[in-house]
């Protein structure tokens, strides 16, 4: 979660200009965006508007100004572990899964590829041209150690580099062995960002960092023993993300800096809501 200024608000306004809702944002206020998955008995609840949501920021009710559902183009960042353990069948499955995500993108969506082993590499910057991305995914190969934390940071940064809803899909089959950045520092970044992280961890490792990361960003961690169904997992992530609402409000009645605890509810309706538990604002 982050506080975005006039720039984000204006872009949101532009993106929704063709919609029935025409929210007007002040260019001098900061807007909080909360990505929320609303389900009832496991099925997504559709057709909700601003009046249906209740948002509490540090316990203070906020006026929801804008709700979007599947209207803002996605920025999907794939962050793939390319350490030496990703080889053979596992690598083939990962390539297929990445390609499956690209196949699920819609017009105006963008995607990027970040890989990490010792080195952090940008396989492809955010682009709507999927050809180079497919090539980049085909070119990946595992070697070296795992800079998972650094790689996640790079993925978040790439996700934030463009307006739109950012989904970061992290794949790793191991634990971090080489990052310079600490997991605490990158979790701090995640708390300041509105990039939603879905992580896929393969193997018998305790994916504590990825679990915390997914939790703080409002995403989800998938822990798999094998990669045979990796494509289905990746596609389900994309589908689930598309079913999320983007709820926006301008914080009022709360201090600007520090940790903001968030609660998102539906007014008068039974539902399960998955959203980030809070956000961090101001310099740390």
């Amino acid at each position: 979660m982050t506080l975005r200024g006039a720039f984000t608000a204006l872009l949101l306004s532009t993106a929704l200009s063709a919609q029935t809702q025409s929210p007007v944002f002040s260019t001098k206020v900061e807007v909080v965006r909360v990505d929320a998955l609303v389900t009832d008995s496991g099925r997504p609840v559709l057709g909700l508007g601003p009046a249906d949501f209740e948002v509490l920021d540090n316990g203070v009710p906020q006026a929801v100004e804008f709700v979007s559902y599947d209207q803002i183009p996605l920025n999907v960042v794939l962050a793939f572990d390319m350490s030496e353990s990703v080889a053979g069948e596992r690598l083939a499955h990962l390539r297929s899964a990445g390609t499956a995500v690209l196949a699920g993108l819609k017009r105006n969506d963008q995607a990027a590829l970040v890989t990490f082993n010792n080195q952090i590499m940008l396989g492809a910057a955010l682009t709507g041209d999927l050809g180079p991305l497919r090539e980049a995914i085909e070119d990946v190969a595992g070697v070296g150690d795992t800079s998972l934390v650094d790689g996640v940071y790079a993925g978040i940064t790439v996700g934030e580099s463009d307006a739109g809803r950012a989904l970061l899909i992290v794949f790793s089959d191991g634990l971090d062995t080489l990052s310079w950045l600490s997991s605490a520092a990158v979790l701090d970044t995640a708390k300041r960002s509105d990039v939603v992280v879905y992580a896929v961890s393969v193997g018998k490792v305790k994916a504590d960092f990825l679990r915390d990361l997914a939790s703080f960003s409002g995403g989800r961690l998938f822990e798999l023993e094998k990669t045979a169904n990796l494509s289905a997992t990746f596609v389900s992530i994309l589908e689930e993300f598309r079913q999320r609402y983007l709820v926006s409000y301008t914080p009022r009645g709360v201090s600007r800096d520090g940790w903001h605890r968030l609660e998102v509810r539906l007014k008068g309706k039974r539902a399960t809501i998955k959203a980030r538990p809070g956000y961090l604002a101001g310099p740390g």
Binding site: E84, Q119, D145, T157, G174, D176, T177
Partner: protein
Amino acid sequence: MRRVLLLAASIVIVNAPSHARSRFDISSQNTVAGPERGQRAPIKAESEMDARLARVERWLKAVLHHKPGEPDDAAREVNGWSNSELRSLWIDTNVVVKLIRNPKAASFSIRAEGQSRSQDVHYAPADFARLRALACAADGQIGAGAIVESPRCLETLVFGRLDDELRDLARHAHASKQRGDDNYVLRRGAILEADVAMLLPHNSEPVASSGGPAPDRFRMHLADGQGTAFRQVAIHWELARMLLDFVKPSGADRAAPGRDDMVRDWYRATASWMQDREDYDDMHLDRARQIFPADPVILFLSGCQREVYAAPRIQSAVRSAVAPPGTIFGIASDRGELHHAEDYYRRALAAGSSLPELHLRFGHVLLLLEHEADAAQQLRVALEREGDPLLRYYGQLFLGAAEERLGHGDVARQTYREAAALYPNAQSPHLALSALARRLGDRATALAEMHIVFELQHADSPPDDPWWTYYRSQARNADDLLESLWRPFLTEVDR
């Protein structure tokens, strides 16, 4: 690029070895003919005990012929012996060196590293006589030009069981004594065993408890932070350490390895080699510290090893590994290992070390323990004294992190930039600058710094971040230390 990490664990042996009590028919004690150099014949034996004693003989000849630092035929022959054979060798050479130090000894109690109890080892009289003959040769008591000082060796001489090679060994051992060093087989045996461990491919077998008094050695291979294999491996390092325990410095009347420069240099060089090759062995430095409790280099390397053990790649592997029953890793939690490292670094400083790198690594450990102000102080000491760009890079990077956590963003930014200037192809300073900017709300700079990271993949020269090798860079002089260790022995060979 595959990295292999090795960890030794210990296993408690509770049963006395049955094979150590086996009897041997004296009629089978034939002299083993000296084979041609480079064409070492297989050991022929009429019983298990015969084979054991023949192996001791062959080992002594390998000590004689081995050229330090070379994976020669002598080293290859020793490397070809099974773990079981080496365990027997460990017991029998232990007895041989005890006989060298005390020719009157008639009973032997042996305790391997990591074992809590000693065990008695018994030989049949004929076997024991043969071992004594080998001990006499190894001690320089028998052979052309040698003076027979011990009546017991005189008896052996009368038996005439030694072939030309063993007599040659005895002559060299005697000459060494004449030069004032009564440790010919001990020093060269340790060099041989270390060379086998370092220079030749490791032999390994499935894990199994030997049930004998000799040590067992287990190794876990690691790759990418996960254990990939658990094997039982040869005990060459254990043999080497056991031999050096009996070193008697010039002028001493008993074994005192802690007063011997070669033993100290051996531990320094081999421990450095292990860290450089990421081939870790707890017991190696444990023994080194027992012998040299105040040696600043050994304390420094002990701190480095514990710092490595605290690193994610080791912690994650140990957490995910299932060790064989009866074995232990001897690795604490990350914070526990950091505290061990801190303790060793403090002791190294107290021992008078003036190494700037000690302050650097001590500072890094303090940083990880969240003592940022103390860390910054140590890192500044290191930077004031250190001119090596590699160590300055580490120092600037760590100091930047300490200053960042102390809330000194401007200072942190400056030190990160200095690190980046030292290694323009390194990504870590730019990651640090990006995260710092992101935390302070400067997204543009955060992104710009990440673009620098991404551009490194397209640079003319390949990315090179010393951070990737931090955990073994303390041992970057390992090969030089080994060359220095081998040099006097090579001169002796030439002579």
